[in-house]
Symmetry: C2
Subunit: 156 residues, 2 copies
Amino acid sequence: MANEFAARTSVEQVEEGAELAPKFDADGLIPAVTTAAETGELLMVGYMNAEALRRTIETGEAHYWSRSRQVLWHKGATSGLVQKVVELMIDDDQDCVWLKVSVAGNGASCHVGYRTCFYRRVPLGKNASKALEFTEKEKVFDPKVVYGDAPNPTKL
Amino acid sequence: MANEFAARTSVEQVEEGAELAPKFDADGLIPAVTTAAETGELLMVGYMNAEALRRTIETGEAHYWSRSRQVLWHKGATSGLVQKVVELMIDDDQDCVWLKVSVAGNGASCHVGYRTCFYRRVPLGKNASKALEFTEKEKVFDPKVVYGDAPNPTKL
């Protein structure tokens, strides 16, 4: 597929310019960091190919490339939890995007059923406990009800 | 190098367990999303290898793996802008970490000189302007003064 974005011609253009010239990796993907516009909470980190980025820009709704399912992924198409993009930012070297989103429905963004994918804390320090600490006690939804028998995207 | 973290044995262990069992990619890396603890602002997205993650946990200061320089990178070693980790989170399938940090010095985290790496907005909508909008007008520091002749990490 043709890459419809600007070609990357110089460090100055990429870092200081006004042209959108994203860098896709060897798999044609760019990481996308998604936070809740209201709270700043990190909801998820996904990946976009050029088409997902273009559709996100055009529709104002988050689209990703699902690496586990290998399909274009309109987030919320199954669960109803569409992410409306309030603001889309790109970083200095244009190899990462940041979506500030407002989530429809119950506000959950994690396929396990929690509000955010980041529901466990890693204790810090040389002698810290090795046990992760849960920061969300209860799930927002039951993934079995929402996703049924669809395969779990988590890979070992 | 031996991976000192727990082996990944089941989806349930990874998603619902208290064991830190991070998934490093084919290059031995895991993406790290770093936000300002005070404001929730996204500062940068970096990568860690197992050693960088271990050192971050042990010291409470952010360590990354520099893909452009191919070295372990104690953030702030050159610039003085050390990132003190206030909270470290891991995501559902444990293939991404989230650092909430407090930044020393002038609070900048971007090698271009801005406070955050995400200083440009992508306009949304089918007929939106193609021009990126700068959301930071002035640099916090002059990268030439701080980094001198060190090679720019941005790659085309």
